[in-house]
Symmetry: C2
């Protein structure tokens, strides 16, 4: 039996101080840190005694295969080391945590998970809005625009929920998804794109659905970004007019 | 002009070490802390120089009216104080942040927001699963079972998204919502109830939809709890069998 283990640890969005106190404590005693592309590389400073390996898997780019990452975690844990696998946002949403946890269990490796802030919450913060203003909606739906089988999500079914939609990994399909959601929800429905949510280089645009893709392209926004759609985003107009718009960052 | 301000600050779910590093820093220099019922009262220890006021608003109980809380924030901020309004989970989901931000802007008070971990992520952690295992679903929908106008959420529309459903504030309607979702998704669909997600007294049950309410009642589970429903929850069965099931806590 090995005394090593693997912790799936959430980096949160952007700034290092969006990690939890628990995440900082776990990193401080990590032996090996596997760092995702979407996680802030400054996180390595919180793990001074760890060997830090970059294992980015950003869509479309040259990247480390999933199976190799899983083998790496198992190998180090079997040497008795504490491996910390750092993932952007919260580790339990859109990060293949399900597959990694299954692989680790199959290998008999002890696992732990440390939660974090998912990027869509930081995107709402950038706009100064609630994701679920109860005058506008009953909740929020987090979806990825990239499905496992390369199909599109069922935008009309998502629109029918009357929840705010928070779309991850959607920038390469921004025009098509704005058109599909405009058909389902109406072209005047408000939307927003927030790039680098929660980071020092955060930028955003707010526009109705029939203008959102053009506005985002004109502003030069690209991945990684969160796309928010729904009546609750209308509150952001007031938000952009408030004089203290930059305070959330400085708090 | 006042130099005071109000920060809406996310307490996260349960344990104090699930707050972010930024939240801890902001609390350390708070003058006044307004503490929600759903936030861990130990948070007050992070704000040693602040006057701490409990302003619980738990459903059905005697509680502080929303308008009074908003007046309190404005009054202290106008005295030049830094008011920190602490909310359970993430402040930008299901916490009336939208109304509070609007009231503060109307009053000309500077505002900031500090994000946090929402309870459903801690609930997934308790079960050792991803909320969005890509073999099972394309995302996750967070809804409250208590709508502003006292209607039920449209369970069939939510079921049609094929996302994992994470239901907040649903325990008083558990039997009815399990029946409605069982009709829409099939009675064998897996579900779970996690009480006190992320806290030291966390407890959970996993069962198919036609047995979930009975199982939760038999286990004595009540509010506050997260109800999770969808094929992705099936992964939790393996989770409950893993020998390291308690490690996530001790990480």
């Amino acid at each position: 039996m090995s005394s090593g283990k693997v912790t799936l640890l959430s980096a949160g969005p952007g700034d290092v101080d969006l990690l939890t106190l628990r995440a900082a404590r776990v990193l401080a005693c990590a032996d090996v840190v596997l760092l995702d592309d979407l996680a802030n590389p400054e996180i390595a400073t919180l793990a001074p005694s760890a060997r830090v390996l970059r294992v980015g898997k950003r869509g479309g780019c040259r990247s480390t295969p999933q199976a190799f990452i899983e083998r790496l975690m198992v190998r180090y844990a079997r040497r008795g080391l504490h491996v910390v696998r750092v993932k952007g946002g919260d580790a339990l949403m859109f990060g293949r945590a399900g597959e990694e946890l299954a692989a680790l269990r199959d290998a008999g490796i002890a696992t732990a998970i440390v939660n974090g802030v998912s990027s869509a919450f930081a995107a709402a913060n950038a706009l100064g809005i609630s994701l679920t203003h109860r005058a506008h909606c009953q909740g929020v739906t987090f979806v990825t625009a990239h499905l496992q089988d390369h199909r599109e999500p069922d935008w009309s079914a998502l629109a029918a929920t009357r929840t705010t939609l928070a779309i991850y990994m959607g920038m390469s399909r921004l025009d098509a998804l704005c058109a599909a959601l405009g058909d389902a929800l109406g072209p005047h429905t408000p939307g927003a794109v927030v790039q680098h949510a929660g980071g020092a280089n955060e930028r955003s645009v707010v526009a109705r659905l029939d203008r959102l893709a053009d506005a985002a392209h004109a502003a030069g926004l690209g991945s990684p970004a969160i796309i928010l759609v729904g009546p609750a985003i209308a509150e952001a107009r007031n938000a952009s007019a408030r004089p203290e718009a930059t305070l959330a960052r400085a708090a």
